[in-house]
Subunit: 253 residues, 2 copies
């Protein structure tokens, strides 16, 4: 084998900027990811060995490995000892982020809108107190919203939040999503426990969502935690099954 990079006639224009504050491994990872995204690195392509790649870029092997590893973690590439690193074939997109419905709709160009139905304080029931980690009967925020996409009702959202966390106004809630408000006020979202099920609509839900009573609904309950382990939100939502599906990608651990 004379030409090691025989798989890619044009060796792919890669470069790093050492004056940038962006870490070198991250710069490289971004360029590789973009190349995969744009098809400049075809699925199945061998990436060429790490040592040579490092030499070509003037980087050390650990730095190059760190970049490649981050792409492997994202599911974009596969490494095989003795073989090399190759771009994975399938259409991997995003492995289920912790995103709000609002952001999902916005990203899909669905013109999301929100109508705030209620925004009060209420004593926590046993279930909600347990989810939020507060004493039963503690006054907690309650927000009830109706979410629209293209002017059609999509979902009925009920959220409970612990007190002293955030000041919520109807105006803010109608112009953006709850998670964005939380992040903006300095809360670092970390993880969430979700439960997705189905049931039929009550009469009230039917009216709100423009469905017949007895129509199938998708339900989701979610407790979200910040990076200190504190529960920051408990949501109990129903979606119109005729208009909404959870769509996501997952990777093998």
């Amino acid at each position: 084998m004379t030409a090691p990079g025989a798989d890619q006639p044009q060796p792919l224009p890669l470069s790093v900027d050492r004056t940038s504050p962006v870490p070198l491994y991250f710069q490289l990872a971004q360029q590789l990811e973009a190349a995969v995204e744009q098809g400049r690195l075809a699925p199945g392509t061998l990436l060429g060995n790490e040592i040579e790649l490092a030499a070509r870029l003037g980087l050390s092997r650990p730095t190059v490995r760190q970049a490649i590893q981050s792409l492997v973690d994202k599911g974009l590439m596969v490494r095989r000892r003795g073989v090399g690193t190759q771009v994975v074939h399938s259409q991997v997109r995003r492995p289920l982020e912790l995103s709000s419905l609002y952001e999902d709709l916005e990203a899909a160009g669905q013109r999301p809108a929100t109508k705030v139905l209620r925004i009060t304080m209420e004593p926590a029931t046993a279930e909600i107190a347990a989810a939020l980690g507060v004493a039963e009967g503690t006054e907690v925020h309650l927000v009830e919203r109706l979410r629209y996409a293209h002017d059609e009702p999509m979902a009925l959202l009920r959220n409970h939040l612990p007190p002293d966390l955030l000041a919520l106004t109807a105006q803010e809630l109608e112009s953006t999503g709850l998670y964005r408000l939380m992040r903006a006020s300095g809360i670092t979202l970390h993880s969430a426990r979700q439960s997705v099920g189905a049931r039929t609509a009550t009469a009230g839900e039917g009216r709100a969502l423009d469905e017949e009573p007895g129509a199938p609904l998708l339900t989701m309950e979610r407790t979200t935690y910040d990076d200190t382990g504190r529960a920051v939100e408990f949501g109990s939502h129903v979606y119109r099954a005729s208009r909404y599906k959870f769509d996501f990608q997952l990777l093998v651990r």
Copy 2:
């Protein structure tokens, strides 16, 4: 601050075996994970700085960092520059693995059982051909199964598989899950695209699942890919909403 390990009076018994073929970073990660699991490392505990930890174990800092990083990736710990690494509070369990229903039920001690309803070859419809990446009309495997837990019907599973992948027998399918059979025959599962929705039961589904027609059902469609990017399975499943929920944890990227 005189005692750097003031957070943990007993410095936690950690040790590595250099004669073992198990990587050192992995040994350390396992021990730390076990300590978190068993509560010997309380939530919020500072882990003590990496350099000292490395010295104590006779390891280098990169090795210790690799161990800790793997736990951070799992969501068990949080690192903060200038502060340290601490055990996260919340009850993180598993961030949604690519697991089969069979394995989930088995792990939960639910006595799963399977009844194979059909196992044939069929020409692929347009939808199935697209999902599996074969030509429309190609003969593909079709497997229909009824899954029980505690002798109660739980879900109706329809799977399509490309030809020349696997030899399926009803006997094997009744004694274990499909994914386990795939793994056993050398297929490396890599990722899957899922879509979860809801609808009402047809008369036939009602009979099979012991539900009224019109009862709410959870639906899931899933296309699974191996590490070469080849689609290895397309599943179209319905679950009894009265008996089943998707329950999972997710982490912020």
